[in-house]
Amino acid sequence: MPRAKPKAVGSSLAKAPTGIQGLDEVTGGGLPKGRVTLVCGSAGCGKSLLAMEFLVHGAVRYGEPGVCMDFEETEAKLAANVASLGFDLRELTKRKKLLVDYVSVERDRIAETGEYNLEGLFIRLGHAVKTIKAKRVVLDSIEALFSGLTDSTILRAELRRLFHWLEDHKLTAVVTGEAGEHTLTRHGLEEYIADCVIALDHRVTEQISTRRLRIVKYRGTSHGTDEYPFLIDREGISVVPLTSLALAHKALTDRVSTGIPALDEMMEGKGFFRGSSVLVSGTAGTGKSSLAANFASAACARGEDCLYFAFEESPSQILRNMRSVGIHLERWAKKRLLHFHAMRPTSTGLEGHLAAIHKLIAKLRPRVVVIDPITNLVSAAGTYDVKSMLMRLVDFLKVEQITSMFTNLTFAGDPQERTAAAVSSLMDTWIVLRDSKPNGRRRRELYVLKSRGMAHSREPRELVVSERGLELGIVLTDQRPATTVAGSGAVAAAK
């Protein structure tokens, strides 16, 4: 039997897009066209969904009809699953874009009495492919055959023949397989599939679930070996493509206002660099959210779209609170310039948040993003995870040239709060807010601890929050150096 190897050289670059957000980026355009891809993972990891999306998107968007040989679910059940993603399987079937064949393998009703092969399966598949002129095929999950048929020698030989058959007919196929204990799939399907293997994973740690996708192998295509977080929601799967960590984004020179003229003044009179990342840290009640809301409001006033991720308060709470300090956000929300997205930090894992944030940004394409606060995300993961997640996020925002502001709650008496220290190195600008009580009068202070690429003021100013909004007071001639909150002074000095 001739191996398909030599063919791979010439045709290795043709791709069949999956239409799954992020996956096509990660794979450089999709799955290998005319080849078999194995998608494996444990039960409930989303492999059937991935396969079905590949098929449905292929039929709807890319004009490639598809056949699904389903060994697990009946046509009716599958139709219900697909409907939950907003696709009408019956309609697609009627229009000959899709054909589902439910293959039932019942061990107790099949007796084996001598030699056989799986020609019946080939004929069914061939017939289905011919009927709708299919270009794509899904076999989900072909491992069911192993539970129905006892002669694994025949079975293995036939599977090999089946995969060759698919390639000979130039079909782009997705085969799913259940994860084994020490192998990618329980029955070693990966041995037969040379071109592309994708592993899905679903972990639950501290009652929070995270889903990840890894490209185990992809012949002829360079691919990251990273695990990519992915999300399953009403629109199906979306993979976070983690832009390359090559630090290749373009640094912009135009500036955006901070929302407070006096603060702009402290930064060469122009404010932040567009596309830069800003950290605002401070203890409770120092005005972090107000500063962020003010920044968002200023962006909207310039006519720019702003996406506001709230991890602590509901949007209506934010609107009310900000109104009390003279920041009127309703008008921007009404004009659809300001978009809120409120989530409980513990509602999903860090990857889940990253995926959701990523997806929303890709959808709305804002110029400004506020994340208020990142501190709460820490409750959903360890510091290291937060840093690596933020690194991915910050990188993504920079590539998209989005100016971003992150607020971070620090705790009095714990100036070297770990998150701030870990995160600050990723940030271009770090604004510190703090409480002080000179002469018994409590006041808020603000200073710019660092701001890359500009000559900024380092003097602390009073931050006045009133019903008229945010203003900066006079330069404070405080004797004490500003180290109370900026615990990681080394970072600042190294700027």
Binding site: D101, V103, S104, V105, R109, I110, A111, E112, T113, G114, E115, Y116, N117, L118, E119, G120, L121, I123, R124, G126, H127, L145, G148, L149
Partner: protein
């Protein structure tokens, strides 16, 4: 092949319902298909003489029929009558397994 049918056992009497309808799925005239047809005829003549009917379906000619009986393997023998429906796969060379699989045991 004659081994088991040559045993001194009385041929099966009726197992209640009297007529046997068997359908054999093949795909072209392959050695296994031909063997299955021959083996089946022998067993039926031996055990069910006069009260059976074999229908051979060649899926190369009628591929659309494969779905209805959930055919995966070739050859597959389906006992359509008497109920319940039973399926046997293989070239039917293991006569004992065929007899067990079709429930052709003699009535005691």
């Amino acid at each position: 092949m004659k081994k088991s049918s040559a045993r001194k056992r009385r041929p099966a009497k009726s197992t209640g319902s009297d007529f046997w309808r068997l359908r054999l799925y093949i795909a072209g005239q392959t050695p296994n298909s031909i063997a299955a047809i021959d083996n089946l005829k022998k067993i039926c003549e031996d055990k069910l003489r006069g009260k059976y009917r074999i229908e051979v379906v060649d899926l190369l000619e009628k591929p659309q029929l494969a779905k209805g009986d959930q055919i995966i393997a070739i050859p597959t023998l389906v006992r359509r009558l008497p109920p319940p429906v039973k399926k046997i796969i293989g070239n039917l060379s293991k006569t004992e397994s065929v007899i067990v699989g079709l429930d052709l045991q003699p009535v005691r």
